[in-house]
């Protein structure tokens, strides 16, 4: 597959952000900050890093992506639609009765999803199970990407999995933490301090890579570096801006768990379409 240019990838990330705003406004509920902040990471994964075939979601040579913080699934749905798993029109069914695009991801509803999540802290454990099974079947050349929130790492289950991955040296697991420093009740460091975050993962036996999670090229490079580490599981600490791309949402934890209303969505879309006022919007 031919590599896409960085310029093209940035355009895709911007389109994904527009879709997230439209989906959330239409749904009338859902999470805004996390999905917007993750758009660059998902663009890197779906449009450069991962091996998959949208026409054969069960292809047995595909890489696996587990979204552990299921509330951020709008960014995955938008990415999957752009990648050709389903028609973009379906994005507007998010959270509606009968939709395949459940408020939190349900594997059995939508081909291409690898897990059901929402209750936090389980993605890494599932990745461990998958990696162990792959090892038994001599399939460890396949990569397992786990996107995790930072707030979700309050969950003890995460650290149970961290120990297991180290014990069995599951080096085909590449975890990516969306380190945006917010959770529902406020900044992570006031709700439940996670720092020294990188040192924690290293103490658990993981190789860590720190990266600007809103820099697509840097995320792609980090994933490439991660693949070169063969003796340890890898945690990419991706620093992101919550609400990235929409000025009035950025850094504001109150946008963690709510959607924009009509006026806010209009304002957000204008900002995304004009790249923050740098260019003239197409509808003006």
């Amino acid at each position: 597959m031919q590599k896409l240019s960085l310029e093209r990838l940035e355009t895709i990330a911007n389109d994904i952000r527009e879709d997230i705003i439209k989906m959330l406004e239409h749904a009338g509920s859902g999470h805004s900050a996390g999905p917007l902040g993750l758009a660059d990471i998902f663009t890197a994964l779906y449009f450069d890093v991962m091996k998959y075939d949208p026409k054969q979601p069960d292809w047995d040579e595909r890489d696996i992506l587990l979204l552990s913080n299921g509330h951020c699934v709008p960014v995955q749905y938008a990415s999957m639609a752009h990648a050709g798993f389903f028609d973009k029109k379906e994005l507007m069914t998010l959270r509606q009765l009968g939709t395949r695009l459940q408020g939190h991801p349900e594997r059995t509803k939508l081909p291409g999803l690898e897990n059901t999540s929402g209750p936090l802290g389980c993605g890494l454990s599932q990745a461990c199970g998958m990696a162990l099974a792959m090892r038994m079947d001599k399939q460890s050349h396949r990569w397992i990407y786990v996107v995790m929130g930072d707030g979700e790492q309050d969950e003890g289950n995460v650290w149970e999995a961290a120990m297991l991955a180290n014990k069995y040296k599951l080096s085909n697991i590449i975890a990516i933490t969306d380190r945006n420093n917010i959770q529902i009740d406020g900044p992570t460091e006031s709700v439940m301090p996670l720092e020294d975050f990188k040192a924690k993962w290293e103490a658990f036996g993981w190789h860590t890579i720190e990266v600007n999670g809103n820099d697509i090229e840097a995320v792609i490079d980090a994933c490439a570096m991660a693949k070169a580490i063969v003796e340890k599981p890898i945690m990419i600490v991706a620093h992101t801006i919550p609400g990235k791309g929409v000025d009035f949402m950025e850094y504001d934890f109150t946008w963690h768990g709510k959607p924009p209303d009509h006026e806010q969505a209009k304002k957000a879309l204008h900002e995304l379409r004009t790249l923050g006022g740098k260019i003239k919007g197409e509808h003006e």
Partner: protein, 323 residues
Amino acid sequence: MSDMHLADLDSELANEPIRKGFGKGLLEAGKRDVNVVAACADLTDSTQMSLFKAEFPDRFIEIGVAEQNLVTVGSGMSAMGKIPFVSSYAAFSPGRNWEQIRTTICLNDRPVKVVGSHAGVSVGPDGATHQMLEDIALMRGLPNMVVIAPCDSVEAEKATLATATDKRPCYLRLAREATPIITTDKTPFEIGKAYVLAKGADVTLIATGTMTYQALLAAEKLFKDGIEAEVVHVPTIKPLDQETILKSVRKTGAVVTAEEGQINGGLGGAIAELLAENHPTRLKRVGMQDRFGESGSPDQLLEHFGLDAKHIRLAAHAVLDKN
């Protein structure tokens, strides 16, 4: 009943813990299918996974004392086509990890086999913390989940093999103490079937797990009291074999349930629901009466909490006493 091919209950019965049958069944399942794998939370000997581990060390994962991870790793292995059996004490799994079982196994439709050993008060001196009594209720409430409580080690072996080829998530409930082996290799076992082990027309005794033997003993005593009890063994609590149960109850018109667990939400709860909707019937439920256990020897505890043939017999008299 001859077609059930039971052991001769009047002879000296062999005793073996139900969990031993699981250990043998898992080993056999592993031999039959290379995709059968096992994981345990630091209780490999106790749960009898050690037989499988010795034979297939590369297909066994030691998780450590981490039950949330145990079942969620099972979900991941299942996603890659494995048939994972994950075991611990029932108090911890499904006691501690119910939400992970709900989300990553049942809702996610991954046919993991959750094995809870040391269920019931017959765990004995370890006390209430380790005597799991709510597991049937916890697992029965989950869509997609199959719930099985074998009555002896021979049936446990068959149940283990049956779950290995079943495409649904399953919960297998095992007990610690040696209990009489009442079934034989020829006794039928199928997931979702209840079995009439003794015929009678006056009262139906519906039992599961270790209490099935006690129900058979109670039926013998009731016979001497002039009461013909029908004993229905329900190894699969979910899905419940409604047809077999209702057929017996329509005949007898009186029911006693028996289980080594909480009657609320347990087998007693399941039968009460079935009867209330389909055939309202006089009912007494033998089991834990909304309380916790405590330390003691297994025999002392079973008597203390009324979980034996004597109390099933009393319950049968009570349910037949129309005053």
